[in-house]
Amino acid sequence: MGIQGMELFAVGVVIILFVAVLKQFGILEPMSMEDSSDSDLELSTVRHQPEGLDQLQAQTKFTKKELQSLYRGFKNECPSGLVDEETFKTIYSQFFPQGDATTYAHFLFNAFDIDRNGSIRFEDFVIGLSVLLRGTVNEKLNWAFNLYDINKDGYITKEEMLAIMKSIYDMMGRYTYPIVRDDAPFEHVEKFFQKMDRNRDGVVTIDEFIETCQKDENIMNSMQLFENVI
């Protein structure tokens, strides 16, 4: 490098330092992100209060004490009053440590989130529980159908059923006996459709579903299983 080169270089360094000093004085500020700080503020103030105790009592089949107890637990976990999908997935995954429960939790979330607004409020939570625990068999079967019907169009297609089945098998994880084969969900779906799909049109409607279930003794008996959970 010649003398010229070095001097140029030195001058360049001096300019850089100058700019750095100017930045300190706030004269030469690059476009700062002033918007991001506000948006953070927004989310944290979102809160939801449930409807009154009496209204909920009317809507569900729980007693006042049960509702109180449920709400206490709910509020403890989610002080903002809302459960978003991520939290829901985390919570549900805790019960199935061996497998991956996120997909099924997603379906479950959609089943509970009646008004499809992306978060479960206490009312949704409690109404869903009321159906599951205190509802009639038909109501429960309705709820199950709603769960399986992913796009809520009134029909369960093979694809939907396959997705649900796969998610359930995912929850089992890898270490099972016997080992879950790759086509196990598919087979299971086939069996299900064989049983449920009366008119062999490739979809299961709500009536077919309820009818078949009512005829199956096992299913009817098992519906009473979870009544005493709360």
Binding site: M1, I168, N218, N221
Partner: protein, 638 residues
């Protein structure tokens, strides 16, 4: 998130309805759950402060005290609450753990108290939340270090030597800890003096003295008075060599000693002299010899045995090794960069000092440390610009690790100060503790000697019986039971040692001291004391009492200067009464096993396994009226 799991489990179970239509097999029966579904509020009374919580909250952690049935032990039927006699402030945090699932550590609380509470309530400290975990760990580590220092100080070399130490061990002790004996202290100061003399001689011998007659040039004093300096050097080296050999002999592990820093310094300090003796007076070799003389300056490091501050400094530097390393590394990087830049910047100048990059290193170092000798100066503009940047950055780079080193030094220094302070306080503390302990034992001994354990068969006995609390009574009864079990009796230290002395003396001289039984006493009874006190007993008189009492040499009466902490004023009176008795006629108490106080920190009785149950002397004094017993000698320690 155990709390969350407990809350959401019913929900997860309910959602299982979704699997039912798909099930391949039939579902198992659910577990029967017959506990009352209704949640109730429990009252927990902690030292008067009432906490109320849902039962479910406590049930979240079933492996803790409050979550399990263990709390039923604390249930108070009348008030229908759980009562705990513990700190209510701490309980707040414990309860919050149940409520929120996170355990927090309160910063203002003592770490040990907190740990104890956690242990009581069955909560493991690992659950502490991340927010408080660091603080908790730091405090715990600090506390442990402090305790370790305490135990170290206790077991420090200030403790008296075990009785059967060889001369070698004693020598080592004397070297390591000069305060133990005067000889060691004297030696310590003498070596210190000679180190100073040697160093000063080294310095002075290079100072130019006036030339002797016949010469013009100034001579260094070393050459003028070479004989004198040589003698002084020889004397110092003799002392150092002697000291080193003594240490080597006394060291418990010679290899380890030879590898230690101080011994290496010692060797390096005295080697040049011997090498100089051995080397011939060659001109070529003496050049190297002169270099060796440099090492004599290492004698100054020998001072570090004498100076604690020096040791602290050395220790600080060692512990800051990583920071120093970082400093060195960053400096090297900066030096290389700037030297390169300066070299190329000044390359064009004629007759420049920057002849090569290594030559530019000197400039960079001098500039970065802001020395600025001025022997190498840039001439070009670019060189000046980079030179100024170099000096600015030098200030920063050097300043960065300095606070770390300083804080390390201050921490270690304060630690040392604390250790010294604690050692001084420890002695006072121990003395006080000894006092308190001796009160209990003395109370028992006094009670015994006043015949309290025997049947009350005389009215005058009543005077001796002091008012004792029920606790004391039960405690004394317990000690008495122990005596009866083992068929030995408690006594105090002095009496024991005296009797031991008598035994060994009697055994050795076989005077007409009639020892009722057990001739074959092991002299390992208390050998050290035997040796020490045999001298004292040489002039003792033998007092003979009636009956089957052993004859003992004189007991050294030592009235306890500290009044045992007895609670009754009757005690004083009995003492006075006793003085009426004939002083010469008393017997000693009995030897027995040293009493059990577990934490006597200072010298405990040398308990030899084969202490015979020597004698029961009669409790009667010849001429003493009443049935008062002997005057036992009491010391304030046991």
């Amino acid at each position: 998130m155990a709390a969350g799991v407990a809350t959401w489990l019913p929900f997860a179970r309910a959602a299982a309805v979704g699997w039912l239509p798909l099930a391949k097999k039939s579902m198992p029966k659910p577990p029967s759950d017959n506990k009352s579904r209704n949640d109730e509020i429990l009252i927990v009374n902690v030292s008067g402060q009432r906490f109320q919580t849902w039962k479910n909250t406590l049930d979240r952690y079933p492996d803790t005290l409050l979550g399990s049935s263990e709390k039923e032990f604390f249930y108070n039927e009348e008030t229908q609450e759980y009562f705990f006699d513990r700190d209510p402030e701490m309980f707040r945090h414990i309860l919050n753990f149940y409520r929120t699932g996170k355990l927090h550590y309160p910063r203002h609380e003592c770490i040990q108290a907190f740990d104890e509470e956690l242990a009581f309530y069955g909560i493991i400290p690992e659950i502490i939340g991340d927010c408080c975990m660091e603080e908790y760990r730091d405090r715990k580590k600090e506390n442990l270090e402090r305790l370790a220092e305490d135990t170290e100080a206790e077991m420090a070399t200030d403790a008296p030597l075990p009785p059967d130490s060889t001369s070698r061990e004693r020598l080592w002790r004397a070297f390591e800890n000069p305060h133990t004996s005067t000889m060691a202290l004297v030696f310590y100061y003498v070596t210190g003096f000679f180190i100073a003399v040697s160093v000063i001689a080294n310095v002075v011998e290079t100072v130019p003295c006036r030339p002797p007659k016949g010469r013009v040039k100034d001579l260094p004093c070393g050459e003028k008075y070479s004989l004198a300096f040589f003698c002084m050097d020889t004397a110092c080296v003799m002392i150092f060599t002697f000291e080193y050999l003594m240490r080597l002999y006394a060291a418990p592990s010679r290899c380890k000693f030879m590898r230690s820093v101080m011994s290496i310094i010692d060797v390096v300090a005295i080697m040049p002299y011997y090498i100089g003796l051995v080397m011939p007076e060659n001109e070529d070799v003496s050049g190297a010899f002169v270099t060796l003389r440099v090492f004599r300056v290492f004698r100054i490091f020998k001072f570090s045995r004498h100076s604690q501050g020096l040791r602290i400094l050395g220790y600080t530097l060692k512990s800051c090794a990583s920071e120093l390393g970082f400093l060195l590394f960053s400096l090297t990087m900066a030096i290389i960069i700037f030297a390169t830049v300066m070299f190329y910047a000044e390359k064009g100048t004629k007759e420049t000092n920057f002849t090569s990059i290594p030559a530019a290193f000197w400039y960079t170092i001098v500039t970065m440390t802001t020395l600025g000798y001025g022997d190498m100066v840039p001439n070009t503009i670019a060189g000046k610009i980079f030179g100024s940047i170099c000096s600015l950055s030098g200030v920063l780079v050097i300043a960065l690790p300095v606070p770390v080193i300083v804080s390390n030094f201050s921490r270690i220094y304060h630690q040392n100060q604390r250790a010294d302070k604690r050692r001084a306080q420890q002695k006072i503390r121990l003395a006080r503790i000894r006092l308190a302990k001796s009160g209990t034992t003395n109370a028992f001994l006094q009670y015994k000697e006043h015949g309290g354990l025997e049947d009350r068969h005389s009215g005058s006995q009543a005077l001796c019986v002091r008012n004792r609390s029920s606790f004391e009574q039960q405690h004394h009864h317990l000690l008495h039971c122990l005596e009866k079990t083992t068929n030995h009796e408690f006594t105090d230290e002095h009496t024991y040692s005296e009797v031991c002395m008598a035994e060994s003396v009697g055994y050795r001289t076989s005077r007409s001291t009639s020892i009722s039984s057990h001739q074959g006493l092991s002299t390992s009874c208390c050998p050290r004391r035997a040796k020490r006190r045999a001298i004292r007993l040489a002039n003792s008189t033998v007092s003979v009492s009636r009956g089957s009492v052993q004859e003992l040499d004189t007991l050294h009466i030592q009235k306890s200067s500290i009044v045992p902490q007895s609670r009754s004023s009757l005690n004083a009176r009995t003492q006075d009464l006793k003085l009426n008795c004939d002083d010469t006629d008393f017997t000693a108490a009995i030897i027995s096993i040293p009493t059990p106080p577990a934490n006597t920190p200072d010298e405990s009785l040398p308990s030899s396994p084969g202490i015979p149950s020597i004698l029961r002397n009669s409790r009667q004094l010849g001429d003493c009226s009443g049935s008062f017993t002997h005057e036992t000698v009491k010391i304030s320690s046991l």
